[in-house]
């Protein structure tokens, strides 16, 4: 690589470079400011850093390949990185009040969020298997630590350990798959792999590698049958961490999955399509049925996220422009709904017992705070996929893509499982509006109200401004074809 190529690469990857250097600088800031205020200062600076990276990416960063084909920035990565950054920024903003109340105010927390966000952005941009794996490890390693950050709580430590052990297992399987693909095609670049398997000529070794690779990726998006860690980790980790886990890493892992199958393995669509169809059906069905019995709202959201990943995969299974567009829109809408719901969960505080997590604690909430209850009701209707809210449009795009690709059974199973899933979303609405009040929550902090309000507006008004987003997503989806 010549010096000129390197300079061009650095310009293309400037947002990531900014986060990497900024995170290291913030480590120094955290060491030298007073201990009591370190978390607040470093958190606000990290938010500013991520906003700056987002602004830089939107206004200045040119598109194109960089670092000799290890990295690529195009319309698709632009869209997904925007979602990743929004997810991280909002999760970080929501953590401020919680960190203060629950005394886990360590300044390393925002820095680890920034570094894992960096890993996610590199994951989205990865254009060969080596950079994909390394970015994934950067992201995962930071997430394992974040899950266990409240180390005085046994459940948080358990969540971190469980996530670490299962994550390491999935990384190992993925690496094995990558080695098989490299061994049987002789390449790690996505375009070269696609060229090597053109016309459906692939050896059985490549197929094995593909299966292992998809296994690892399915673990990262917590799709069935690799979802076992999700409820425990979501329940055990501190709530702002859970909000972060449910938002940003899902965007990055889904973007990576889309790029791997649409870019590197597009010539052998039939091979991966059956795998995606299976994990999609399994995730939708399990997400719908397993959530019914849950009493803890964080566990409920874990199963809900498993189900939603299944719906997003319906679009990917189609393997068409409309399908990829559907996945992108579904993830964007899922992000908005999830962040709003977690803002609400963080606001479930009682004066005397602190944060509560049981669904029954919501009883009669509507009589105390009708506006908040109305927003949560809108979010729940949207998660259930009831028109004309945003969640309905997400499902509309993916199911339409599946039907156009001839995957009728998949779309039918999806619609049926979303009917089953509607039960537990509507149950929350029922408990909130029609059960007798048991106690009051304290008034939510300003930033939580802001997030909930923004999320509510997005869900309600998507039908008005959704057109341009869908048009952009379609243009971005065409980069693969």
């Amino acid at each position: 690589m010549t010096a000129q190529e390197l300079a061009q690469s650095l310009v293309i990857a400037a947002p990531e470079l900014l986060i990497a250097i900024g995170a290291m600088a913030l480590l120094m800031v955290g060491v030298f400011v007073r201990k009591e205020s370190a978390n607040a200062i470093v958190t606000s600076l990290t938010v500013a850093l991520l906003v700056a990276a987002l602004g830089w990416m939107v206004f200045f960063a040119p598109m194109g390949p960089a670092f000799g084909g290890a990295y690529v920035h195009d319309a698709f990565t632009f869209f997904m990185k925007m979602l990743v950054l929004i997810g991280s920024i909002v999760a970080l903003v929501m953590s401020v009040g919680f960190a203060r109340e629950e005394k886990f105010d360590r300044f390393e927390f925002p820095i680890l969020i920034a570094l894992s966000t960096l890993g996610m952005m590199l994951m989205v941009s990865a254009d060969n298997l080596l950079s994909l794996y390394m970015a994934l490890e950067l992201q995962s390693l930071a997430l394992y630590v974040i899950a266990a950050i409240n180390r005085d709580s046994a459940r948080s430590t358990e969540a971190g350990l469980k996530y670490f052990v299962l994550g390491a297992l999935s990384s190992g399987m993925m690496l094995y798959g990558i080695s098989l693909i490299y061994g049987f095609t002789g390449h790690i670049g996505f375009d070269e792999i696609a060229a090597a398997v053109t016309g459906g000529e692939r050896s059985i070794g490549v197929l094995f590698g593909l299966v292992f690779l998809l296994t690892g990726l399915a673990f990262k998006i917590s799709a069935v049958p690799f979802h076992m860690w999700t409820p425990d980790v979501y329940e055990g980790a501190p709530t702002p961490v859970t909000a972060f886990f449910a938002a940003a890493p899902k965007m990055a892992a889904m973007a990576m999955l889309v790029r791997v199958v649409m870019d590197a393995f597009q010539p052998v669509t039939a091979d991966w399509q059956q795998i995606i169809v299976f994990i999609s059906i399994a995730s939708m069905v399990l997400g719908a049925f397993a959530a019914i019995g849950q009493r803890n709202i964080k566990r409920l959201m874990a199963y809900s996220s498993i189900g939603h990943m299944g719906y997003a995969l319906v679009g990917l299974a189609a393997g068409t422009v409309a399908g990829v567009q559907g996945v992108m829109l579904y993830m964007a809408i899922y992000l908005a709904m999830t962040l709003g719901t977690f803002a609400f969960i963080l606001a479930m505080r009682r004066k005397d017992e602190g944060n509560v997590e049981q669904i029954s604690d919501l009883a009669g909430y509507a009589s105390n705070n009708p506006l908040m209850a109305a927003i949560l009701t809108a979010l729940m209707f949207s998660l259930a996929g009831i028109p004309p809210l945003a969640g309905f449009w997400g499902k509309w795009y993916v199911f339409l893509a599946a039907v156009e690709a001839g995957l009728w059974p998949l779309a039918i199973i999806g619609v049926l499982s979303s009917v089953v899933g509607a039960y537990y979303y509507l149950r929350i609405v029922k408990i909130m509006w029609f059960d007798d009040a048991e106690g009051r929550f304290v008034a939510p902090a300003g930033e939580l109200r802001l997030v909930m309000g923004a999320s509510g507006v997005f869900v309600l008004a998507y039908i008005v401004f959704g057109g341009p987003i869908a048009a952009y997503a379609e243009a971005a989806a065409r980069t693969f074809f």
Partner: protein, 208 residues
């Protein structure tokens, strides 16, 4: 390609010491001696790498295994003060598994040797043929690309290690640690005789 002449003599010497010292790792009575034999094994393995022309691998083996891993072992063994009797009790129990692993490895080696003597060529052509180590030292070959073509991966690896370091500190460092006494100069300077010295009347025949 078989080694000949002086290289062969050195090969047999290093190989013999490596095998002998690894046997000693298992049978030595004192765990500290076991670790020291392990270090000797690493040195001989490293010498074998150098003999085959993989000088970078040899040096890395020394730096990583002797420099870091073996020293860590030594620390652990010394700190834990492993009981020698219980330490050796497991040998008979684990012997069958050890023998099984040994048989499998021996069978695999046999397959490689037989395969080579029957001259079974690997199918297909290698994507990148290995250059002759004599013409191209592998330290130079690595150095050419590690900081140029692969600088991106090198930097991400650095970030991964940074995250590991931050994580280890976040999850283990407790502050303030009660058992550590820190010097507070202001407190020391502000002491006066009234607070620092206590005068006690001690009755004769009794202690304090």
């Amino acid at each position: 390609m078989l080694l000949t002449g002086i290289a062969a003599a050195f090969f047999y010497m290093f190989a013999f010491i490596a095998v002998a010292s690894s046997v000693m790792v298992v049978v030595a009575r004192n765990p500290v001696h076991s670790v020291l034999y392990l270090i000797l094994t690493f040195f001989n393995a490293s010498a074998l790498f150098v003999l085959t022309g993989a000088e970078f691998l040899g040096m890395i083996l020394l730096a990583v295994y002797v420099g870091a891993v073996a020293v860590l072992f030594l620390f652990v063994v010394m700190m834990l003060e492993v009981n020698r009797v219980t330490f050796r009790k497991g040998i008979a129990e684990y012997a069958p598994i050890g023998v099984l692993v040994g048989v499998v490895i021996a069978a695999q080696l046999l397959i490689v040797v037989v395969g080579q003597s029957l001259a079974i060529e690997p199918s297909g052509t290698p994507a990148l043929p290995t250059p002759d180590p004599a013409a191209r030292p592998n330290t130079a070959a690595l150095g050419d690309i590690l900081y140029t073509d692969y600088v991106y991966f090198f930097q991400i690896a650095g970030l991964v290690l940074l995250v590991a370091m931050i994580g280890a500190i976040v999850l283990t460092l407790r502050d303030p640690r009660p058992h550590i006494k820190r010097q507070n100069i202001g407190e020391q300077v502000a002491r006066d005789p009234e607070k620092a010295v206590e005068l006690v009347d001690v009755e004769s025949g009794k202690g304090l």
